[in-house]
Structure formats: structure tokens, C-alpha cells
Symmetry: C2
Subunit: 343 residues, 2 copies
DNA sequence: ATAGTTAATGAAAGCGCTTTCACAGAGTGT
DNA sequence: ACACTCTGTGAAAGCGCTTTCATTAACTAT
């Protein structure tokens, strides 16, 4: 029923290999012949069957991205960047979301076997070694976004610097008891604790130390997830401390938003009673007037997509990893503006 | 290099068709034979080549979703619902985002030809007829989310009812000049103006009429997009009217958020000087204290995914379309709570 | 026993491309 | 004129599955 390459060949009075040639390389086919073939294609409304092409070429023309939480605006923003690039590159984008570690296992298991994508971008974590090896064996390049792993092309940000500038900013504003909330302390896997949250904490501690303030573990809380609900819970723990912090630095804007909600529900004024600084600069942050450390989320996605794409095409890429710049965005929740206005 | 069905057949001492049978139907193969085959599969670590299987079966085991704006939290929420269902159903999910009408044309053009997905979910619009026909010809079921089209399976809500209850609520609160902001007035295509924004406007007008208030076209503004920036611009137009509204109903929460930002930037208090009601109930809405009409976004996605999936499997589905319930969520921006507190 | 089913299996023919290989025919150099 | 390289092209062999079809073995019914 559907028109195949054979029909085109017949109509143009050539062999299928010639048709295939005009469809692909374009070299070594006489102009006149090509013209005939093109006309036949046009006349019959021929469209190459992708499935056949895929089998023959052993690829699927798609890049996969695995993200841990679809609900996380940060990840969605990265995804956006990826989408924009890959659609322009003519690649399909298939997404795999895994809401539990179990799911992640099975997902990676499947993914690393069948060729469901030609290249993979993982957001915010490193796949276990055995998966990495398998991907390599199948020549499926993997690149990581929002995570630095020396073994793998990674697009990341200097999280310790980020934690540092956020904390320093609060310190400069006169705060001495500064809380920190991160998603989770335990490394998710054996990759060695360079998770964003942990790195931001390093920066936080470094700023504290430089300021001559002793690090108080009681001022660090874990939310589990980058969500408002969990952020609020973590804030609750911190704020009900006998000697509560006057400022909180959160490892993500979502957590920060939760902190703000909780604080307000307790009648606390922001930034008067509690200063808050977030991380990411998601869209809500500007609405909420949240001071935060901006990471170029879309750019991260774009770069990651660009790298996989080139790797997929067999290109030898020299600098596969890239560090993107961050920036402190000062808004209302830290109190700096209020001070300035007063002054 | 990779182990194929032939290797398994050889190892198990059977023909490839037998291997294929145990891989698939499972009927009509002796228990003992199946066991041998299974053992060979295990021993060799055989995984069927998806590409070959796809070509042979003429499917790709994936559902596609085309969304207009990735930046739209509503669409992302629907996408989430889709993802959850389809991943459980063992289907891959590929997303197509189209930021312009041009892109949409070419996208649908490509999509309706090659088999890049076995089923398609489109969010918030109806593809043109010619595309629909083509999809039908290729037996690719299409279902629409957030849009009602009688010709196609659709998962939708009663938007005119939604517009009605939002407006009625404002009316009940004593407002008489109520503005309305929608994304765009012009139907995007010839499908006949039952776009969500237009329907909500119908409900808005109906409520007005019932209350004996003449509809004033000057109180309707178009933002173009569901974004804060555009919402703010539209609010600017409405609010600088000689006889400005005391309340604004926005066709989406994003627009409503923009309205709030603009109003506040002008020193207006919400809800004191301006009441605002949105639509969707995206996550930010609760943070912003926005009164809104909630639609079950994830559910929409889930249902849409369920329907396509069943259709893809050739199942004869009786009720392919479904209307989901909506609900007014009263929070701070409408002023109802303030009144109650006062009272 | 004998014909008539049914169950289990393998050979082979697709699926619709890409790619290798061989072979004409046209140039080139002597 | 003759050997010698290119170009342009088609036949045919994959790619790794599914599925049809024929065949054998085993089982029922007379």
C-alpha cells in the first residue's frame, strides 16, 4: 500500500540503489538521473520508511533524556534547552522520568540494552558504572547535565562557588546564624559525593569559615526533595531550633519557596525576620522576589544536547565538558534591597 | 558482534521461529523446548533488537505528544500525567514542541508521514484536517487534551462553565466591572473557535448577562501567550482604561500572575484594589495565593495517554472522549477570604 | 490398523531500507 | 590503438526480527 523505494525506482527507471543514493550521499549520480528520481519521488509522494532506515543504519535519530523528577522546574528548564537544540538538529527527543531508585535501575537497564536512543543526557546524577560501560559498548554517548563527573562529558556549574556567594552575601548583610537546606546529604550512589547539594554546602561552609563563624551542623537540614512541601518541613525544623537562624540558604528555589511559605505562616516577615536565598533562578523566583543564585538552565540543556549530538555523529569532540557561569541575583528576600532603600 | 536470534536458535538447537515464538506469543511451543530457549537466551545475554522488531511489526512502541509551549506549566503538568501513564505501559514518550505556527506545520507534516510514534497526543489544539486524515490513513490514533473536538477523542473540561464560575464568584463579591484576559481571540485554525480561551469568555459573558451587566468589549484583552510578561502587558491595557475594572479574570494562572505583578508594580493592592482570578491551578497558584479554577491537569494527561494507548492496541474504545471536572479554588487574590475575615 | 486432526517446529519469505560489489561506459595517457 | 582509471549504475546481500507455510510427529476416532 504505502509507496516504497522500489516503486520510486520503477517509476524513475532506475535501480533502488540509485534512489537510495539520491536520498542520501548525493554523490556519484548523474544530474539527469537524480532529476528523474526526484521527480518520481515527488510524483508518488514517496517518504522513506524510517523504521527500515533505522534498522539498516542502526540508529534511531533520537536523543533520550533521563530526569529524576518531572515536577522539578529546574529539570524542566534544562529539558527545554535540550528540546530546542535537538529539534533544530532534527533529532527526536524521548524522555524518561524515574521517580524512584528502583525505576532508575530498570530504566537504565533497558536503555543500555536496546537502542532506544542514539545518545543520552542524564540530569543531575551519574549512572552506575556497569550502565556506563554498556552504553559505551553500544556506542551510545552519555552526557551529564548539572553534575560534574570527570569520567563523562558533563555540563555543570561551580556549585561550591555558588554556595559560597550565596552565603557570603548573607554574611555581608550581617547575618551570623545562617541555615542551609539541601535535598539530601547521602550521595545517591557510589559516585563520590559531588552532588550539587553537597557542593553548595561546601561553599556555604567555606564562607562561614572565612568569616570566622563555626559551622553548626544543627543549622543544616535535609528536605529530601526539591519541593515546596519538603522545604517547608525542613524550615520548620530549622526555625524551631532554640537558637534559630536569621537567614536560610536553600539548595534550590523550590525549597526556598517552601521556606518562605512556612516562615510567613508563622507570622515571620521576609526579609525582616528571616532572610532567604535560593538557587537556580527558576521562573517563580522572580515572581516571588527571591534572591537566588542563577544557573543558566536552558544553556545547560543546550550545551548538553550539542555535545551528545556531536558525539552521536562520531565527531571527536575535544572539550566535552563545560562549566557554565553562575550569578547572584539580588531581589527582595535577602534584605539587601531593603537596606539600600533605607540607606 | 551483538548476539542475535540466530545465535540463540543455534545454542538452543532450534529454529529462529521457535525462539521468536517464545519471545512473543508463547503459545504452541513445548514446555521443554521453551525452557531450552530461555536458557540459551539467559546464557548468551540475548536482547532482541528493537529496530528489527519495529520494522517487522511496523510500530515503534512510543507515543508522541505535541505541545505548543514548553514554557507553559499547564502543558508540563499534562505532560507529567502522560509520562506517568505511558512509562507504566512500557511505551516511550517522545515530545515535540512547536513554538510557531510554521514549526507546527512542518512538524505535523513529518509526523503524519514517517512512523515516529504509534499514537499522538496533542495539547490544546486541533491539527488541520489533512493531517488528521493522514494520521488516520497510517492508523496513528490522535487524541486531544485540553480541547474539545467532536471528530477526535478529546479529554477536556467545561471551559464555559469554568469561565462562568470564576466570573460569578467575582460578581458575588460585588464586582461589576470585571476584565477578562485571554491568550488569543482569533481561532488558531479553521476548527471553529472552541478554543479554551474563547469558551471561558463565553462563560464570562454569560455570567455577566445573568447579572444584568452589559458586556463591554473594552474589558477584554488579549495577551497572546500564557506568560507573565504578556499578562502584565494586557493588564496594563485594561488598567489604564478610563474606567478600569475592579477585578480581572485571566484565562490562565500565568496570565493572572502577570496581572498581579503589574498591579503591584503600580502600587495597587490585591485584592483590595484589584481582585484577580486565574485558571488552571498550577503549582505557583497556591504559592501566590491565587484564586483560580482548577482543572485536573495530570488527570487530563493520564486519560489522554490511556485512550491513545488503548487505541494504539487496536482496542475498540466506546467512550473515547471524556469531560473532567473543574473546581473553583478560593484563595487570597479574589478578596473572599478577606471579607470573611472581616465579617 | 487407517484415515483425520491437531500440536510443535523449521525453512523461507518478507519488512524497506543501506551498502557492497561487479560491471559497463567514458575518459585519460601513451 | 591499448591498457588503465574513473563514474554512474544495478543486482544482490545484508540489517534482525516476525510470520506464513509446509512438514513431521503425535493423537484421536473409527
Amino acid at each position: 500500500m504505502p509507496v516504497t523505494i522500489y516503486d520510486v525506482a520503477k517509476a524513475a527507471g532506475v535501480g533502488i540503489s540509485t534512489v537510495s543514493r539520491v536520498l542520501n550521499d548525493n554523490t556519484n549520480v548523474r544530474a539527469e538521473t537524480r532529476h528523474r528520481v526526484l521527480e518520481a519521488i515527488e510524483a508518488l509522494g514517496y517518504k522513506p520508511n524510517i523504521l527500515a532506515r533505522n534498522l539498516s543504519r542502526n540508529h534511531v535519530q533520537t536523543v533520550g533524556v533521563v530526569l529524576s523528577y518531572f515536577t522539578n522546574p529546574f529539570q524542566v528548564a534544562v529539558l527545554q534547552g535540550i528540546e530546542r537544540f535537538s529539534s533544530q538538529a532534527g533529532l527526536d527527543l524521548t524522555i524518561f522520568s524515574m521517580e524512584s531508585l528502583k525505576r532508575r535501575e530498570t530504566l537504565l537497564e533497558n536503555l543500555s540494552h536496546g537502542r532506544r536512543c542514539d545518545g543520552l543526557i542524564v540530569i543531575s546524577f551519574t549512572p552506575e558504572d556497569r550502565f556506563l560501560q554498556r552504553f559505551q559498548r553500544y556506542h551510545i554517548p552519555v552526557v551529564i547535565a548539572d553534575f560534574a563527573d570527570e569520567r563523562i562529558p558533563s555540563i555543570y556549574v561551580d556549585n561550591v562557588a555558588g554556595g559560597y556567594i550565596a552565603t557570603k552575601h548573607l554574611l555581608d548583610l550581617g547575618h551570623t546564624r545562617i541555615g542551609y537546606i539541601l535535598d539530601h546529604i547521602e550521595p545517591q550512589n557510589g559516585s563520590g559525593g559531588n552532588e550539587p547539594g553537597a557542593d553548595r554546602q561546601k561553599g556555604y561552609q567555606r564562607a562561614l569559615t572565612e568569616a570566622g563563624i563555626a559551622f553548626d551542623p544543627k543549622l543544616v537540614s535535609e528536605s529530601g526533595l526539591h519541593s515546596r512541601e519538603r522545604g517547608a518541613i525542613a524550615a520548620h525544623r530549622l526555625l524551631n531550633h532554640p537558637n534559630p537562624p536569621s537567614a536560610i540558604f536553600a539548595a534550590s528555589d523550590m525549597i526556598a519557596l517552601g521556606v518562605m511559605e512556612y516562615a510567613r505562616s508563622q507570622g515571620l516577615h521576609i526579609p525582616g525576620d528571616l532572610a532567604v536565598v535560593g538557587f537556580d533562578d527558576i521562573e517563580l523566583a522572580s515572581f516571588a522576589g527571591l534572591t537566588t543564585v542563577r544557573q543558566p538552565m536552558q544553556e545547560m540543556g543546550r550545551h548538553a544536547a550539542e555535545i551528545v549530538t556531536r558525539l552521536m555523529q562520531g565527531e571527536k569532540v575535544l572539550r566535552t565538558s563545560r562549566q557554565l557561569p553562575i550569578e547572584l541575583v539580588i531581589r527582595e528576600t535577602c534584605g539587601a534591597l531593603t537596606l539600600a532603600e533605607r540607606g
